[in-house]
Amino acid sequence: MISTNKPSRLNKIVSYTLLLLLAFVILAPFFIGIWTSFLPTMEIAKGNFLSTDLSFNNYVAAFTKTPILRYLANSLVVSTLTMAAQLVFCSMSAYAFVFLKFKYRNAIFILFLITMMLPFEAEIIPNFTTVKNLGMLDHYSVLLIPFLTSAFGTFMLRQSFMQTPNELKEAADIEGLNHFQFYWNIVLPYNKVSLITLGAYSFLGAWNQYLWPMLTTFSNNSRLIQNGLRQLQSEETFNDWGMIQASAAIIVIPTILVLFIGQHYFKSGMNEGAVK
């Protein structure tokens, strides 16, 4: 008994030490960032991170001196709408690729996939010209319309929908459900986990956008949060590092919330069985 217990205990100690070490490596920069957001700028500029002169002054400055709240609201609206639209359109197109039989289905799907092969940055010049000619520059629509759907979302949901048991489709056919009823009442609830994953993914994708909004928006009213963070920094002159760090900390909060909520649903989704 003792002889078998010992190696497993040692095993546990080793693996926990390793996990703690890795957790430290990953979390340390994050906590240093949070810590510095409470320090006065001069201490940060000097590299004196062990200072105990902590206060909320930086946060007060970030909220009162900068339009960061406006940027947060812009980002929240754009990210939520992008997420919602991607969920609807991607799930519909994925449904079509899995459950509808039509000519050239695979060829069209491959066309979808091809668009994934080019990174967005490579398409930025033609896309910019297009939105410029459509007169969409410096408007919310330029931040939304190009991102209403994504090939990746369709691809991911298609893989997930393909796992839906054929018995469900057959049962639905016997019950006399039409396509929309089957999509709405069976396919979507059954693939809840994938939908939530895609939702979190597209929300964070929109939240973290930098290059596109930087190029296509020109005024504070339509500026998104990541560009707003860049705006807090000046080129050569004095930088209020404490306030910038506090703003960065504020910006991270929604990201963490989305991840935690997503994770919670992810777990509960795994435990539910749809087929008996």
Partner: protein, 452 residues
């Protein structure tokens, strides 16, 4: 299907339909509301943080000073990003009437032919005396005898030293226009007398500093007089002036009093941190950093001109920063308004306040008589030095900047050469390689632009 999910899906669908209605019914750009009887002058700038607040003060001052025009400032990201946006949106309704473009984009802006030279407006304006503006700043943005753009936020590289540390170790401070050996002496003494606790000096691996050292020694890097009399077709990095600069650094690296903070944006922040914490005594940086170095700094700050080689006179360094350009795609009245704004921004009182709140130099000679600057100098006498350096420089082709397109790439290649030499590599070899690569890039870029 759970009720909750169903409900959320329904609300989701509702939101989306609401958005579509929203987008397609209100398809007009998001703009700040304003009184409409004034002519709107859209102004694109790249100043973030504290300098943006100072800039908004200038704009508000202009809007209050008259009732014909209204300037609308809009932040556009970094200098580099903004250039592309300006070039790509030219001729559309979103393009700016007046914009800020940084020093090394000057050649690109002139060649684009998208701007109206400010000289055209100055010639018609009896009230404005261009002679009042610092000549070194003016010559940087003029071409073919015409003022192309109005110099605006302007800085110069200066040498900062920790005056308190020098006093503590009883070291004679360097003269106001030091030679390389003056600086070497101070750096060595500081390193020795502090018991090797404080490094003497650092010079960031930054192409701008290499260019300025060459300029200050009176040598042009690019042919056709640094591009002022024709489009440059080649550069020569492996010249005696650049070599002397790198040899000077080599000497200090060998004696151990030099600390290398590397290259890139974090290098700048790290060397500032090192200087403020008293880990290094001397460094060279833009004069616009003065605010960061004096705010809450317990140590006294010393400032000198950019150092020059021994046995010759300093030629003067060129300016950094950015200028105001007027787009030619807007109606005459709007362009005139843009000019009025630029003129206001350079008036003595505005420039004096501008120097105080940002650290950029006041370009109008009369600003020095303003109370704001007099008070500033009384409090920090060393704050006078960068402005003196600017006033001392007699403009010539060498110290009026390099009118070369693709300066961003050139700087990267210069930095590679500096890095190689800092790491103990052969100076001539590193500079020869940089020359070859820069020339290759100039050739490609000239061919792509269709310059013979």
């Amino acid at each position: 299907m759970s009720k909750r999910l169903k409900n959320s899906l329904i609300s989701l669908a509702l939101i989306i339909s609401a958005v579509f209605v929203g987008i397609f019914t209100t398809n007009n750009p998001v703009r700040s509301s304003s009184s409409s009887d004034r002519t709107q002058i859209v102004f694109w700038h790249e100043l973030g943080g504290a300098s943006e607040d100072a800039l908004e003060e200038v704009v508000n001052g202009f809007n209050k000073s008259q009732s014909k025009y209204e300037v609308v400032p809009k932040y556009q990201g970094s200098y580099d990003e903004a250039i592309q946006k300006i070039l790509q949106t030219h001729g559309t309704s979103t393009s700016p009437a007046v914009f800020q473009a940084f020093d090394i984009a000057t050649a690109q802006m002139i060649h684009s032919k998208y701007t109206t030279p400010v000289q055209n407006f100055i010639d018609k304006d009896p009230d404005f005396d261009i002679e009042k503006i610092a000549p070194a700043a003016r010559s940087f943005y003029s071409n073919g005898g015409k003022q192309q753009a109005m110099p605006f936020n302007t800085s110069q590289p200066v040498l900062y030293y920790n005056a308190s540390l020098l006093k503590k170790y009883n070291i004679t401070p360097p003269p106001v226009s030091p030679t390389y050996s003056d600086i070497t002496r101070v750096a060595k003494q500081l390193y020795e007398r502090s018991g090797h606790k404080t490094k003497g000096m650092t010079i960031q691996i930054y192409g701008w500093l290499l260019e300025q050292a060459t300029t200050n020694a009176g040598t042009a890097l690019a042919n056709n007089n640094n591009g002022h009399t024709g489009i440059p077709t080649s550069v020569d990095m492996n010249n005696p002036s650049t070599v002397k600069f790198l040899e000077w650094i080599h000497e200090n690296i060998k004696s151990g009093d030099f600390i290398n903070y590397g290259s890139g944006a974090s290098a700048g922040a790290n060397q500032t941190a090192g200087f403020l914490a008293g880990k290094v005594g001397i460094f060279i940086q833009s004069s616009a950093s003065i605010g960061e170095l004096t705010a809450n700094n317990k140590d006294k700050l010393g400032i000198t001109y950019f150092p020059h080689p021994d046995g010759q006179k300093a030629n003067g360094v060129s300016i950094g920063g950015a200028a105001l350009w007027i787009s030619n795609d807007k109606p005459k009245a709007v362009q005139q308004g843009a000019y009025e704004f630029a003129k206001y921004a350079l008036s003595p009182a505005v420039q004096a306040q501008w120097q105080k709140s940002t650290g950029y130099l006041a370009l109008n000679k009369d600003s020095q008589k303003e109370k704001i600057l007099k008070d500033l100098y009384a409090k920090n006498p060393e704050a006078k030095v960068p402005g003196q350096q600017l006033a001392d420089a007699k403009p010539n082709y060498v110290n009026s900047g390099i009118l070369l397109e693709g300066m961003q790439v050139t700087r990267q290649l210069e930095e590679v050469a500096m890095e190689e030499s800092y790491n103990g590599g052969d100076i001539h070899k590193a500079l020869k390689k940089a020359t070859k690569n820069v020339n290759q890039n100039i050739k490609t870029s000239n061919r792509a632009n269709g310059y013979k």
